[in-house]
Symmetry: C2
Subunit: 110 residues, 2 copies
DNA sequence: TAGATATATTGACAGATGTCTATATATCTG
DNA sequence: CAGATATATAGACATCTGTCAATATATCTA
C-alpha cells in the first residue's frame, strides 16, 4: 500500500514528497483553489465527453466573459480541461487524467 | 455513479456545485496550492497520530522559521492539521477528516 | 528570577491573482 | 467584403500571498 504502483502514482510512499512532485500537485490544487474556477470546472466535467460550449459558462457564474475566459485558460494550462473549436464557438471538456496524480496522493490520507 | 452516497459527499451529483460547497473545497485546495506547504503537510501526515515536532520541519524545507510557522497556520486554519503543545515545543498531526470533502468530489472524476 | 530555547506575530516588500473595461481576433453568414 | 457573434488578449487596479528580519511570547531549567 505504501508502494508506488504506477508512473502517475504519487501516493504515500516511503520517501517524503519530492519538490518536483509537489509542484505537479500544487499546480492542480492551485487551479482548483478559486471558488469560481472550481464551479467552472464542475460545469465542464458534468458535460462529459461531449463538453460544453464556453458561451453557456459565463452567465451561471456571474462573471464577465473575459474573466471566464481567463479561468478556462488556467484550467487548460493545469491540464484539467481541453478545448476544441467548432465554428464560432469553443467546446470545453474535462481531462480527468491529471487528477490521477492528485487523487492518488490525497486519497492515501483518509 | 452519479449518486451522492454519504453525508460528506460533495461528489458528482445531480446539481452543479453550490457556491457554498465550492468555498469549502477551494479552501482546502488553496491550502495545498503551494509546493512548500504541500511538502510540509506531507511531512506532518507521514508522522501519523504521534505527530511531528515543529522544530523538525524548518530545516528539510529550507525556509525560515517564521515562514514555516505561517504555513502551519494556513494548514491549521484549513482544517488539515492540528497542533498540541508539549512543553516548549509543539506537535503537529494531520486531521484527514476534511479530506473527505475534497477526495469525494475529486475522485468522482476519474 | 534570569537565561535559554521553541514558536508565534509584526511589518515590510516583491510578485501573483481575480476582476473589470476596452479592444483584438476568429469565424460564420449574407 | 461587411456585419454579427464568440472568444481571447491587453492593460489597469485592488487585494492576496510567500518570504524574510526583527521582535514578542511561552515554556523550561538552573
Amino acid at each position: 500500500m505504501n508502494k508506488v504502483s504506477s508512473p502517475l502514482a504519487v501516493s504515500l510512499s516511503a520517501r517524503p514528497l519530492h519538490a518536483k512532485d509537489a509542484l505537479v500537485i500544487a499546480r492542480v490544487c492551485s487551479a482548483l483553489s478559486d471558488p469560481v474556477r472550481l464551479r467552472l470546472f464542475d460545469l465542464v466535467r458534468r458535460a462529459g465527453a461531449a463538453g460544453v460550449c464556453s458561451c453557456d459558462l459565463t452567465e451561471p457564474l456571474d462573471r464577465s466573459q473575459p474573466t471566464i475566459s481567463h479561468h478556462l485558460k488556467v484550467l487548460r494550462e493545469a491540464g484539467l480541461v481541453e478545448s476544441r473549436r467548432d465554428g464560432t464557438w469553443i467546446w470545453y471538456s474535462a481531462t480527468p487524467k491529471v487528477f490521477a496524480v492528485v487523487t492518488n496522493y490525497l486519497s492515501s490520507v483518509s
